[in-house]
Symmetry: C2
Subunit: 306 residues, 2 copies
Amino acid sequence: MSLLIVGTVAFDAIETPFGKTDKILGGAATYIGLSASRYLDKQNLVSVVGEDFPQEHMDLLSNRGVDLGGLQIKKGEKTFFWSGKYRNDMNTRDTLDTQLNVLGTFDPIVPENYKDCKYLMLGNLMPSIQQRVLDQLPNRPKLIVLDTMNFWMDNFWDDLIDALKNVDVLTINDEEARQLSGEYSLVKAAKKILGMGPKNVIIKKGEHGALLFNHKEVFFAPALPLEEVFDPTGAGDTFAGGFIGYLAKTDDISFENIKRAIIHGSAMASFCVEKFGTERLQGVDENEVEERLNAFIDLVQVEMAL
Amino acid sequence: MSLLIVGTVAFDAIETPFGKTDKILGGAATYIGLSASRYLDKQNLVSVVGEDFPQEHMDLLSNRGVDLGGLQIKKGEKTFFWSGKYRNDMNTRDTLDTQLNVLGTFDPIVPENYKDCKYLMLGNLMPSIQQRVLDQLPNRPKLIVLDTMNFWMDNFWDDLIDALKNVDVLTINDEEARQLSGEYSLVKAAKKILGMGPKNVIIKKGEHGALLFNHKEVFFAPALPLEEVFDPTGAGDTFAGGFIGYLAKTDDISFENIKRAIIHGSAMASFCVEKFGTERLQGVDENEVEERLNAFIDLVQVEMAL
């Protein structure tokens, strides 16, 4: 089933207690696409890069089935760049540098042959850009997933509230859920956010797993206890990519299947953090995914009836 | 099966964003006993209080099947008192006052008729006191659970390390596991701690659930997402009480049953935090426990095979 991904394609420079990288391939849409490619042969991408974006990165995406017809390449301009450093706990990071470059004037144009998409992943971007994508689609997709962050709440509150009205699944982390709702309790936060429009809210708690709420039900997916977290960059986007990739592949958006999709997303994210950037994600094979899904199920497996 | 609980019986004065209490009934052994009483008709207690400890609190414990033959009542002395204030996030608390009183000279004496205990819960206490209890038992209990905290690591490291050598299950929170092991990753921390003697380690993560490790396996029990956490005091002890109460009742210490016991302990703890002190714990009925156990199971239930 056709999946359209909208999000950043970028350069990242990352420093963790385990080492540092030069400019490497990054961006929300990159992680989403690589992760979703485990489930789909073909995905469409709307994004923007500068003239400095190398052919090898485009080939990597193409080889994974990511169609680049919607990737704008801006002559004479530079690709979005982010640089960050993780502290020793690996949960806190400081942004060292952000160069918006091509992202500063990004106008997302959805190619005609992408417009019938059934699954739409709106990666973390300015809410008005996310909305402009929605406005170009003649028919509402079967499922719209939107990711956002605190920066947009701080600076573009009204636009974000508008965009949320159209959303089937909002993915957000725990601190952002608290900020968006004004509630400390995540149960209360989820209820308030569901009142803003999204039919489902996934609250990502990093190493503490993820909570899924709709108006009637709640589900909790643990994170796999990992011996080493090497680089958390892109884990949330990798989660989103596995999540929507699985849903698009199975074409079933029941609550039961959304639960399964969260386990798939969590499994993909658990690979992502094992190496710098997209490196580990590129090397994952089918058996490893299967093994890790089983590990997720075993982790919480308990037979209560004696 | 006979359960012996060793721990504090105390007065607490608690302040949370929702209100404050005068001196109310508290102490690790109190919470453990009240929680375990859901599973057992009779439990033995070794502890100490002062002359100021009221009859009504002793009656409350007696009525729940807690035998007070091992409760020392020190004439002319005062009961251990702790006072604390929770911050708005309910995860951080500041100790306002600690008056050791009778606890300062506590010498735990195990009555003859307690010495054949099959299940032993060593609540959070000075490690040398925990060890002195072990030294009085002619036969090793079938299961020894020990709870501890960072204070003993800071001040009585060697005693704690000695006590850990004899333990079947160590319960500890995530920060304490990191301190005890010197490892940030909880997987690595658990491995190191298992190397110190305990056959199982339960790492309590509060609102993020609990992890169980032995040398071969790992299990994760979520915490129930609660709308309101009113007072977290005693939640860890209530967990321990439900945990060992269930194990003593079923008299099965297989890994599978330890997993079940964690769910029972988590369910009991989820009640504890809903009101101040032991209030909610006193009022829990059988149907409510059943309902909450089901909620725990449903929370992570997902059928992966399509």
